[in-house]
Symmetry: D2
Subunit: 356 residues, 4 copies
């Protein structure tokens, strides 16, 4: 999440402030128009939603999974974590994790503590988690403390970095050895799945996690996140709890139709691939120009460190996201690509970078 340099007139600029600045992938809009007059049941009992669930279960190679469609990321995290956590438990997360900083206290509003650990480019390690748990278990006062109950990671992270299959497997092992659950926030999952550096599949997620979500909002949908619970008995009455959290859409078809689109003919994969490839062109241009990346950028987000002069020049022709001050003379900024980014836009950005 971030704020683009959008106060000035942005006409004719290349807009790369975020991956949720346009509407939805055109095939989604087309399908919404095409199905508009059909009367269906509400609350996700329509045939579109049922079919979308089926497609997702297949993609996850997990025929027994419960799949529910929620609306947005914060809502999904708050709802699922409230379902996964017992009252005496908290959720371990990187200090840069969305649940740690950018959900306005939604997790705590539901009664749960976020146990923040310092992340490395947004990532936690199994070792860190295990150390926290071992320390907790060894603490004479542990019964006066919040027990670690769930580990929250995002794939890709808020910094666009990736967990490898080995890393996720280690996290999953630590969780399950210590009676915890593993939850993966996949707000931008399309960009992880499509990354050249990725070795984690949907089936891996379904095998390693206790719950995860496949992001729609930031991956080409108007809105929507598909929660997958590989073992549904873990969350009894999930539907009612979604309703209680205000996360149940009356016209559930709106979510069903979109995820049906995304999981038909490989669209979700294509959206991720196209955006990742465009982002990698920016990465390459930055490297050539000698501009330092802030962190590895294997997905659709490119974080890099520019001098204030460079930032001003970039701002003349593009809209980026301000990320944070690096030092007095430098700033970390971000470009994010999406299904809506064109080759022409990337050509322009590459040229601007070359001329910095």
């Amino acid at each position: 999440m971030s704020t683009g340099n959008t106060s000035a007139d942005n006409t004719n600029k290349v807009m790369l402030a975020s991956d949720y600045q346009e509407g939805a992938h055109p095939s989604i809009i087309a399908k919404l128009a095409e199905t508009n007059m059909m009367a269906t049941e509400g609350y996700g009992f329509d045939a579109f939603s049922q079919h979308a669930r089926h497609l997702i279960r297949e993609a996850c190679q997990c025929p027994g999974a419960e799949v529910q469609f929620l609306i947005g990321g914060t809502q999904t995290n708050a709802t699922v974590l409230d379902c996964l956590l017992r009252q005496y438990e908290g959720v371990i997360a990187a200090d840069s994790g969305h649940v740690s900083v950018h959900e306005a206290g939604a997790i705590e509003a539901d009664g749960h503590k976020v146990l923040a650990l310092p992340g490395m480019h947004g990532k936690l390690t199994a070792d860190q988690v295990e150390r926290l748990v071992m320390d907790f278990e060894a603490d004479g006062n542990r019964e006066h403390m919040v027990a670690p109950g769930v580990v929250y990671v995002s794939q890709p992270t808020e910094y666009g970095t990736l967990y490898s299959k080995a890393e996720l497997t280690a996290l999953s092992r630590v969780c399950h050895e210590h009676g915890m659950r593993l939850y993966v926030d996949g707000a931008r999952l399309a960009y992880a799945l499509a990354s050249q550096e990725n070795d984690v599949t949907l089936a891996d997620l379904a095998r390693l996690c206790d719950a995860f979500y496949i992001g729609g909002t930031k991956c080409g949908a108007l809105l929507g996140e598909a929660v997958v619970v590989p073992n549904p008995s873990l969350i009894p009455h999930f539907f009612t709890l979604i309703k209680q959290h205000g996360a149940l859409l009356a016209k559930g078809r709106l979510l069903g139709i979109q995820f049906e689109c995304l999981f038909t003919d490989g669209l979700y994969g294509q959206i991720g691939k196209a955006a990742d490839e465009k982002a990698q062109r920016i990465v390459e241009a930055l490297r050539k120009r000698g501009i330092t990346l802030y962190c590895p950028c294997p997905t659709n987000q490119v974080f890099f460190i520019v001098s204030n002069g460079q930032m001003a020049k970039l701002g003349e022709e593009s809209v980026y996201s301000f990320w944070e001050k690096y030092d007095d003379a430098h700033t970390v900024i971000r470009y994010a690509t999406s299904w809506a980014t064109t080759d022409e836009q990337i050509d322009r950005i590459v040229k601007i970078i070359e001329e910095l």
Copy 2:
């Protein structure tokens, strides 16, 4: 809310189970398609949302009002009531009110008691409310009790009935004389505003209420509810609290575009009027046929009492909502009309009723 007789094959039946069974009014779909490729800021800071807010403030004749777009009804009620209630307060509502029964405990999940009063066709009276408050204030144990803090009413009610301007004015007076706030759930507000029997305008609501919402989901939008807070200082940091409740849409434009449509060229009024008129044709047919209405039906919902035989016949050619058992031989069912209902459908329904 209800369950239609949808288990059987519904091909060729007249679908009147609810007013949210189709997509969205065609002009909304068209506007979404047309604006799809524009890049905008997120979280409701886009120009569509700003313009929609302006249009709503004008329609409410309340230029200083805060207008925020949320996603669904339960979410809106839970969020706004959590903002309006202090911790030691509860919300007075009719026992049939949506917040009392059909929100899966969302109000209580946020920490607030619903103080239910018996409703008459879904309505509360100012006298009832005043009596509750006076009893509370006279109670020696009142400091051990939940204080009444907000009165919740729906316009139209869950039974499609209407508060008159005099009734709302009386409720508003009681609330403000006793330090309470008045909140109106307008999930189906279009059908109230357009009703022949209605004398309450948006400007009246803005003048009499402390907060209310203008329903989108059930009035022609894909999703969305516009919350109006006439005096914004009543809810400081409303934006952050919306975020905390998981009610902030990343692509806020989706809400802005829809409410811009609904409040341009009188569309919201037309949607209400068309549906109300069609419902009144059903009402008239039922009266002619001598079938008893369950309650006054001045808006788009028609509740009526049928014998089990009649219900079976209606079910052969239409989809209605089962409401409740009336007695062993009779049932209360509902037809709901909407922007999507056609004259031909009503012709068929009228004919079926005549032949019952």
Copy 3:
């Protein structure tokens, strides 16, 4: 709970406003003095608490029960119900139940709805509960509603009435047949156990309930309630949840010592018996004088209906509790006896009643 007529000068009046108006039974005070200088572990790990737990398990004939000492009634109800209820569940209670009206919304503050049913002299019937559950299970919208999860009853009730063993057995059966739990609030349990009309033992409670508490505060202790969970696996990490609810006493010995006293040499039984007998002398006097009881009064609380003139006379020589207006000319008031009530006080009260 109630407010006595205590604004005037009460010197020399017979004080029967409540059963918690004096300190503690003298043997408790003596034991506190005697053990004062012993150093013990905190948080209930001291030997007094351990021994008191053992005595209570024996009295309940339930050697495997978990016994935890909490501080007050509202706190105990809120803590235990929060532990017994899942997030999608509410608690069924009589509309006069302490959790329904006199806990300032503590149950809702923890996120749970109270599903109130009309009580008869404070009591629920198994039939009422079963009807509510069957209606819920048959409701097409039940997944949008709060599920009944726990039944709360008080023994004796807030009106001093008693559940028979048959009635409690029926409630227990309904609960367990429908996947619910039964919880008994025993704030005044001593007076139930000692009543001539009682046939429910501690062992019955341990057999029939999923949790209950043995009241200390209103039965001769300075403070304290002993929660019994016959099957401890029902509430994992109960200790931590008690801490989280602010219900864990640092000097847990204060609770342990008191319950050790109460469950040694039959003191708890004697306290109940003495108070009940004194209350029955008042009941008899009222009957002789032709004054109507408000409800059956088999325990230590006597509710009766007096004319306003009679009330004034009683107020000259005694302190009672105002309960509620009966009609313009009559009022329901209450006398409550306790371990501290003397025969001389009752003699005076009986004489006053005779002369009304």
Copy 4:
């Protein structure tokens, strides 16, 4: 909070594991016995509580303050913070603060985030707080984040260290300049007030803080904490909110009598002074023996670093608190003195230390 080496037989050992291991100061026990048979009103409306409030207001030189008696520390912190925080705010605390780690998530269970900052020997600085607030206010995403609303400090801290008047004044200034409130946890306040190094009076606390509590449980009472709110309008309906949090004692006299005792004839001061002096004798002995203090120890808690061999020797004749491993060969342990500690016990401890 800590765990003493209490598993072995402790007969004849010097018990210094904590300052809440005995009952209560003998004058409290005497007063409880003496007043036991008096009948009083409940819930803190008795004359003892009223008088105790008066004495505390006088001691704080704050005649308009609201004074309420709660039961324990975690409960008091959770209740007061829930009253002081708005829904969109969190509480800033040192990472070692009681609310950060040892309240089993009580703050979060009430819906609030703890914004932890690294403490220095348990203390926060005004600079740290100001930096956090400035960073928050400068953050482009601040509306998606928890706003700092209250600063929590403990006096003395969990490490027995003290804030000077200058430090507290600076914290108070930062809080009020940024619209925040300052709350002081005085669980062990007697030991701060009596310390040779202290320059903060009760009147200073009443002047600088928005709320604080005067600890009873760890300062000679059986239980009880006196909350002082200098400007009562800051917390409307505080009584009801105390009830809602399960923190209202039915026999409120038990708290009133104890605080009346503590604030009569300077008892609270004497308890602090006696314990501090005894602790300083231990400090001096450790210094002479060349044993390193873990932090400055100006109050009744002495934290020091011993080799494992030394720890074993100390454990043979005394009960200390294990605090944390320092390194493989060393451990941090704590002695805590109280009103119950005798000169003879200190003589023995000093001798043991000399012989280490």
